[in-house]
């Protein structure tokens, strides 16, 4: 099994088994609600994980997603008081513009994404503070708040279904067109992809536009759910989304990964958080579990370990011969 398939598969399988075994420790059987709540957690970070993960496939890293997440949420809440759809639309358009501007700068100025997106993150947080006056903004559209989290088929909500749909759409587009292969080629060797005829600049603009759109949509949906928009969500969403992306089989070096893997990574992270809630473990243990799972996955994925296993196999074969 290729590494980009092995990593997310192992991560999700490990967590699902741990989740299924939780009742052995707690003495309380799992309830349907536990799946619903885990998928709510997935909805909270899924779109951010997809946004970051897609840029990582192309060898970039969009630090600004959490700023776009905050601004998107703020715009969605302020523009969506009477019409939630209008609010989400405004947030998504703003996210797309923010992403497109950054993608344009990165592509045409040929500058690395980290400093550009870091600057954008800081500027966007400032913008969120400016829009809100530094205070949380209440979302008074109670119908929208109730709608986004209403139970669908026992375990889903419109928010988690929209998030799942975004992953499905990304997989469809990247899998059904040349875009997926081109992004991996850009991530693997940008110069070689230019030589091979990939329109790198356009792809980067499209990539960051998508990333901004997803982050703003995620922020908008979350703020609808919370019935408030916080101008500073902190760095936690970014870190968790990055962990989900890494568990999803993408590499910091780029050139590897796909939306299905990212979906598995995001689900693994959400289920892990739900295990902590179900088992009444201390809040900080979530971080320890993320770190431990990441360590296991990195070990599985490490070239050193693979070389070691290959050497052992070779010796075994020699001995057998």
């Amino acid at each position: 099994m290729r590494q980009e398939r092995l990593v997310p598969a192992a991560a999700l399988l490990l967590v699902v088994v741990a989740f299924a075994l939780t009742p052995l420790g707690t003495g309380v059987p799992l309830a349907t609600f536990d799946i619903y709540n885990a998928l709510q957690g997935f909805a909270q970070i899924g779109l951010l994980a997809l946004a970051i993960g897609l840029t990582m496939i192309a060898g970039e890293f969009d630090l600004s997603v959490v700023g776009t997440y905050a601004v998107g949420g703020m715009i969605a809440v302020q523009a969506g008081q009477s019409s939630a759809v209008l609010g989400l639309l405004a947030a998504v358009v703003a996210g797309a513009v923010i992403g497109a501007v950054q993608g344009g700068l990165i592509a045409w100025l040929r500058v690395p994404s980290v400093p550009v997106t870091l600057a954008a993150y800081i500027a966007l947080l400032g913008l969120a503070y400016a829009i809100s006056g530094g205070l949380s903004v209440t979302f008074t559209n109670r119908d929208a708040t109730l709608w986004v989290d209403q139970t669908v088929a026992g375990v889903f909500s419109p928010r988690s279904l929209i998030t799942l749909a975004a992953f499905g759409l990304a997989a469809l587009v990247l899998g059904g067109t040349r875009l997926g292969a081109e992004l991996r080629a850009i991530g693997g060797d940008r110069r070689a992809s230019r030589v091979a005829g990939v329109r790198v600049d356009r792809r980067l603009v499209l990539l960051f536009t998508t990333s901004g759109t997803l982050a703003a949509l995620g922020g908008g949906l979350l703020c609808f759910s919370f019935a408030s928009a916080n101008p500073d969500p902190g760095l936690r969403p970014l870190l968790i989304a990055a962990v989900a992306a890494l568990l999803g089989g993408v590499s910091l070096a780029g050139g590897r990964g796909n939306p299905w893997g990212l979906l598995a990574g995001a689900l693994a992270v959400a289920l892990l958080a739900q295990i902590v809630a179900v088992a009444y473990l201390p809040d900080w243990s979530t971080q320890l579990f993320y770190a431990a799972l990441l360590a296991v996955i990195v070990a599985i994925d490490s070239p050193g370990l693979r070389r070691g296993i290959d050497r052992i196999r070779a010796r075994t074969r020699t001995a057998e011969a």
Binding site: Q40, S228, W260, G261
Partner: protein, 337 residues
């Protein structure tokens, strides 16, 4: 190129299927005791409080659990430092139908719907520390800090300290707790009310440092770099563990602290370290809302509730101002954390 799609889709579906099957075996999941039988034995509470990473939260949680340890009440710990996680944990608590949900709210607006869900499910909710959103105030019981009064005390400390130095004007900085919380907003309301009565002293900065001592220290360093020692005469750190990093940052910037012409610093949520700093003259004053007192009152309220003593729907913890002049009275209360 994408020949593994079906494998991946199958894996994800299969993994979810395992979880769904296991969950299905558990049914609706209903645990915990109801409040209909009197007595604390066998009762379960879901504790959706602040996490231990906050010094106030850690001291509160430790005392709260210790006070209930001998009562036979089972505490399901769903504390968290993150507003988003808290909403999920609150919903989790409602689904488990405990005898009572005890919550200290990070984001009052975000917890409106969970509180409404608890009401629909017939699960009583006790909110502690900061008040809930006004739209659900009638749906919960509460043991609250008098946050507006605490803000007034902080401003009184600053005004008194600056006047004692003979200053006819002064610039004040504020490092607040999370602004999204009504706790913070109520304190700032009280603080602003008293400061408005002394317009010669002007608040020039009001920064959200999220109840985080490290963030308080960093922001204080930036503010001293921006305004210089002459540009800041007084500072309010909303908790002692936020006021002390201000003292440290002022010293690092070469500014004089306390005394006849140094920086006047006031804290809040009194802690032992704050009392020591008041004694040494580095802090002018603080205020109560120590975690120990409110934790004990919350535990007592819960016992009375389960024993059928019908405690009042809302109780306010009495708060006091602490300065060098009154320190002897509050030293013991403030030195337990």
């Amino acid at each position: 190129m994408f020949g593994f799609r079906s494998l991946r889709a199958g894996l994800v579906t299969g993994a979810l299927g395992i979880a769904l099957t296991v969950a299905g075996c558990g049914g609706g999941g209903s645990t915990g005791a109801t409040a209909t039988k009197t007595g604390t034995q066998g009762k379960t509470i879901a504790f959706v409080g602040y996490g231990d990473a906050s010094p106030w939260g850690a001291a509160y949680n430790k005392t709260f659990k210790a006070e209930l340890a001998s009562s036979g009440i089972k505490i399901n710990d769903l504390t968290s430092m993150d507003a988003g996680t808290q909403v999920q944990n609150f919903n989790q608590a409602v689904s488990q139908k405990p005898g009572l949900i005890v919550a200290a709210l990070w984001d009052t607006t975000a917890t409106v719907v969970p509180i409404q869900k608890a009401k629909q499910a017939g699960v009583p909710v006790l909110v502690v520390d900061g008040r809930p959103d006004p739209s659900v105030e009638a749906d919960v019981m509460s043991v609250l800090s008098d946050n507006e009064k605490l803000g007034e005390f902080a401003a009184q400390n600053i005004v008194e300290g600056l006047k004692a130095q003979g200053r006819e004007s002064g610039k004040v900085i504020v490092l607040s707790g999370t602004k999204a919380m009504l706790v913070t907003q109520d304190r700032m309301k009280g603080f602003g009310k008293v400061m408005a009565a002394s317009p010669q002293y002007q608040v020039i900065e009001d920064q959200d440092t999220n109840w985080d001592p490290t963030a308080s220290g960093k922001v204080a360093q930036q503010l001293f770099a921006k305004h210089g020692c002459d540009g800041i005469q007084a500072a309010y750190g909303m908790a002692d563990y936020m006021a002390l990093p201000i003292v440290q940052a002022a010293k690092q910037a070469g500014c004089k602290v306390g005394g006849t012409d140094g920086l006047v610093v006031t804290g809040g949520n009194c802690f032992k370290a704050g009392i020591t700093a008041i004694k040494s003259g580095e802090m002018y004053g603080t205020a109560t809302e120590d975690p120990i007192t409110i934790a004990k009152q919350t535990a007592d309220y819960i016992k009375r509730y389960f024993e059928g003593a019908n405690p009042p729907k809302s109780e306010l913890v009495k708060e006091d101002r602490v300065t060098k002049a009154t320190i002897a009275q509050f030293e013991e209360q403030c030195s337990q954390a």
